[in-house]
Symmetry: C2
Subunit: 131 residues, 2 copies
DNA sequence: GTCGATAGATGCAGATTACACATAGCTGCA
DNA sequence: TGCAGCTATGTGTAATCTGCATCTATCGAC
């Protein structure tokens, strides 16, 4: 028995995973103010209450963010254990993050409006239609 | 021949476009409370202050949402002009949308925390000029 | 008949991603 | 010494997704 209340549907749909712009911007956010490396970021994401993310995707996303100029990296061998690729947020990354917040605010306000703009007395959309 | 004599930028970065889960959930939100068809939704998105979306992607996304059971559709031939495929939010879509709002709130709080947990005026990581 | 707006859809090349697996450094421990 | 396990970073691959161009079709205006 799974401890997690997994919906008992037999849909073969893959578990939702954090990816795309939400993953990219979460990584940028975690890098705001201090540096970090991939494994560390991957763990932070896992504890963040967001959908799980694939670590391979995290590493690839970080490389892509670097290619885009939003982060920069260097090898850190100052600690014990395997070398770590330390990432820092760049100015461009910081600007992108700020711009993203604006987009996000807009986006969220759209969702909120949709949820709250129910006309009084209007019956809930009778989405029976299937006919 | 390039009309612009500016060769330095050979990165033809495509304009950011609304896609993925942000597109899906925006569509679901627009369907909350009333029905709509693809062309209409595409126009609403264009006026919403979000990044532009490709209409082909909108149509494909709607079909996929239907496949996932989050919307249902039928042909509407009651009006003049080309037939419209009218979409309705299903119960499952409504639930998904609600769940998404929670994820989004979490996500946004992460970004906000990152932006505010620093002394204002503290310099960004000094990785400037790194391009 | 042609043009433009409406309405929906597809072909394709390139990008993205989930999943599995690979590589390597270090620690503990028998 | 051997080896399991954790840390840390990746890659191979098939499936999926996406941007852009293009296509079909209806209808009203001219």
């Amino acid at each position: 028995m799974p401890a997690t209340p997994k919906p008992a549907d037999d849909s073969p749909e893959p578990k939702p995973r954090l990816h795309g712009e939400m993953l990219s911007t979460s990584l940028l956010a975690f890098l705001k103010g201090w540096n970090a490396y991939g494994y560390q970021l991957s763990q932070k994401l896992a504890q963040a209450g967001l959908p799980e993310s694939d670590s391979g995707t995290v590493y690839r996303t970080l490389r892509q963010l670097e290619k885009s100029g939003f982060v920069s990296s260097f090898w850190d061998t100052s600690e014990n254990g395997p070398a770590r690729r330390m990432y820092s947020l760049t100015k461009a990354g910081d600007l992108f993050l700020s711009g993203w917040i604006d987009v996000l605010q807009n986006y969220q306000s759209i969702l909120q409006k949709a949820l709250t703009s129910l006309d009084p007395g209007s019956a809930t959309a009778d989405v029976d239609a299937a006919s």
